[in-house]
């Protein structure tokens, strides 16, 4: 029997939902693909038709949350933000979507987004990174920042962003205020560096 696209989407979303429940209840490390398959009512082999591994599955959740964050950012921005403020809104919108998963994210991000050479690159992690950086490039362009060598700016940004994520997943301060201050300062610094002028103003939106 041929499975419809709609049925596939429903199964995929059901797997993600059950996996999220299990990750939160037992922790990422302690949850097995077998547990997830069982909770979803699938055979383990069938689960692998949808997600190659537990990491891929978790990273898909992250990627979807970040995608929702990008939509939120576009919805929330007013067009009056300066560059550092716009980037702050962008990162904060993403983190807000990731927040329900914060307690299990450390090992997931470490495995899927690590900047160090790995034997196998997580395609979902790479896709999430590319989508995130594409959005950042778009924001920079809208503020008229095109001069800085892009690969340098993007490497710098990604390093800061990973640092922010690492801090956030470990942040014990109330409502992760420490991370919020870190994002603010990091972004001012980033904008100063890429503008090379010692000012963090950036341009208003050029659109």
């Amino acid at each position: 029997m041929r499975i419809t696209e709609q049925a596939k989407r429903q199964t995929r979303s059901s797997i993600l939902e059950k996996a999220a429940e299990l990750f939160l209840a037992k922790g990422f490390e302690e949850t097995t693909t077998r547990d997830i398959a069982k909770a979803t009512g699938l055979a383990a082999g069938t689960l692998f038709n949808y997600f190659r591994s537990k990491e891929t599955l978790a990273m898909s959740m992250v990627a979807e949350a970040l995608s929702r964050g990008r939509k939120d950012h576009r919805r929330r921005r007013t067009g009056d933000e300066e560059l550092a403020e716009d980037l702050f809104l962008f990162i904060a919108s993403g983190l807000r979507q990731l927040k329900p998963m914060r307690s299990i994210l450390g090992p997931v991000l470490e495995r899927s987004l690590s900047p160090f050479p790995r034997r196998s690159v997580c395609p979902e992690g790479e896709a999430a990174r590319q989508a995130h950086l594409t959005a950042v490039r778009g924001i920079l362009r809208e503020h008229g920042f095109a001069a800085a060598p892009e690969h340098v700016a993007m490497t710098l940004y990604w390093s800061l962003y990973l640092g922010v994520l690492a801090c956030w997943t470990n942040d014990a301060s109330p409502r992760q205020e420490e991370t919020r201050a870190l994002i603010d300062y990091s972004l001012h610094w980033f904008v100063q560096v890429i503008s090379g002028t010692g000012t963090d103003a950036g341009g208003k939106h050029v659109r």
Binding site: R76, L89, S173
Partner: protein, 480 residues
């Protein structure tokens, strides 16, 4: 390292330290360094962006604070072995460099800078004025941070909560900033919002400060100074607790009736939280703007009376000290009322502290000099006046007499009298120059309170019947 190299290194460190020190014996009205400072501050174009402003203002504050610390500390080693002193100074020079760059600059460094620079003994009025201006010109959070904070605190954006919300803060302080908004019911409100993570910054900066002061640890004043720093930390952290501030504000509001002419804004609980405090918006002018309208003497006298009453009533009725009486916290309203804005820094006296003050009050009124001396000794952490050097006791007695002068004067007291104000500066400068600063933590706040409010009244050039107000607010000094 050879002895010569060591000597050169040490000389360089000491030279560096001396460079940043204020003059050894500053005349209280010495205008030269002050003029330089003012020119530097006013001549410098303010960068438009918040980060650069934070950096520059923060550095200025840090330099001032570092300078005063060094000035104060050097005196601690005046009689010590010269080698020990040089060693300590060299350590201090390195530590001060660290101090100038540490922290987020928005938090405790700035606040401590203000606090120390406000210590009147070493700061002439104009510097206090510059620092008061910095209160308003402190860096602001951009609106995206404010929005995130609202989402965390209330689960919605400011615009969803209020009928209107100004994205630009209209006033800023070192620990927070204030936005104008309108409630759905139509009232205009002031929404004070706290910088993220400020409490942790304060704790971290004060920890660094204690490390910085390590060269002092062998001196006899080490423990009292640690106690004072602990008190400073407690007070700063209290300023980050908006629930507490809301309580203080409500309590103060209940102390005044409409006939008093003093307004404490109403707190809107449904729009307030740990990091957000929403109060009634009071229209009015701050002192500098008010003075620019060139008010008449009668009006100045009226506001001086209100200023005294505003601080005296909470003190005598609830034993609370409004420990931050700087101009930014008062509003001169067009209808003649005085608005009080900020209740973040309110020090409650312990029963023991209150008893000591009562005893001193009684001793001063009955001119019981031995009892006055005993009270001074206890306030300065001595068991008995006999333990104090005669000059220390005499100097502190002069300081105390200046403090009590308005209490002892029948009829209108002229706070605008330059002679009175100068005497206050002179005696406090003497206390600092002679290093007679050992005291229980309360006295740091008392000194801030007394000098802060008198500096305001002096600039206002107002008079009021202080003694009559005192009798009205504290009719029976013998009662607890």
């Amino acid at each position: 390292m050879s002895a010569d190299a060591e000597k050169i290194r040490r000389a360089r460190a000491v030279r560096e330290l001396r460079r940043i020190l204020p003059k050894e014996t500053p005349a209280p009205f010495d205008r030269e360094p002050l003029a330089e400072l003012l020119t530097r501050v006013s001549g410098k174009r303010m960068p438009a962006t918040s980060f650069a402003r934070a950096w520059i203002l923060g550095s200025l504050q840090a330099k001032l604070a570092a300078g005063y610390f060094a000035f104060w500390l050097r005196g601690k080693f005046a009689d010590a072995d010269i080698k020990a002193r040089l060693k300590s100074e060299a350590q201090l020079a390195a530590a001060l460099e660290l101090f100038g760059t540490m922290g987020y600059l928005r938090g405790a460094v700035m606040k401590i800078g203000q606090l120390l620079a406000n210590l009147p003994a070493v700061v002439p009025e104009e510097v206090a004025e510059v620092l008061a201006a910095l209160h308003f010109e402190a860096p602001s959070m951009h609106y995206s941070i404010v929005r995130e904070l609202f989402l965390d605190e209330f689960g919605c954006e400011p615009e969803e909560m209020f009928a209107s919300f100004d994205r630009q803060a209209f006033s800023a302080a070192s620990l927070g900033q204030v936005h104008l908004a309108r409630l759905p019911s139509g009232e205009n409100v002031a929404v004070k919002i706290q910088y993220p993570d400020i409490a942790r910054t304060i704790r971290a900066d004060l920890r660094n400060l204690r490390i910085l002061l390590q060269p002092m640890r062998l001196s006899g004043d080490w423990q009292p100074m640690l106690d004072t720093l602990a008190d400073v930390e407690r007070m700063l952290l209290m300023e980050t607790d908006y629930d507490q501030e809301a309580r203080s504000c409500r309590e103060a509001r209940s102390l005044f009736t409409p006939d008093d002419g003093i307004v404490v804004p109403k707190v809107y609980d449904a729009y307030s939280g740990k990091r957000v405090l929403t109060t009634e918006y009071l229209p009015g002018r701050h002192l500098r703007e008010y003075l620019a309208t060139n008010p008449g003497q009668e009006e100045r006298d009226r506001f001086t009376r209100l200023l005294v009453l505003a601080t005296m009533r909470p003190f005598y009725r609830t034993h609370r000290l409004f420990a931050d009486p700087h101009p930014g916290n008062f509003l001169f309203m067009d209808d003649g009322r005085l608005g009080i804005l900020d209740f973040g820094c309110v020090r409650t006296l312990s029963d023991e502290e209150w008893r000591l003050l009562l005893e001193l009050d009684q001793a001063v009124r009955t001119e019981d000099e031995p009892c006055v001396d005993r009270c001074i000794a206890r306030a300065c952490l001595f068991d008995d006046p006999a333990e104090m050097e005669p000059d220390r006791l005499a100097t502190l007695r002069r300081s105390m007499e200046w403090n009590f002068e308005p209490w002892r004067t029948e009829g209108p007291f002229d706070f605008g009298d330059e002679g009175f104000y100068r005497r206050g500066i002179d005696v406090l400068a003497a206390v600092a120059r002679k290093r007679y600063t050992r005291a229980a933590p309360l006295h740091l706040w008392l000194s801030r309170f007394i000098f802060g409010s008198r500096a305001m009244a002096y600039r206002l050039k107002g008079r009021c019947d202080f003694r009559q107000l005192y009798r009205q607010e504290f009719p029976d000094p013998a009662s607890p």
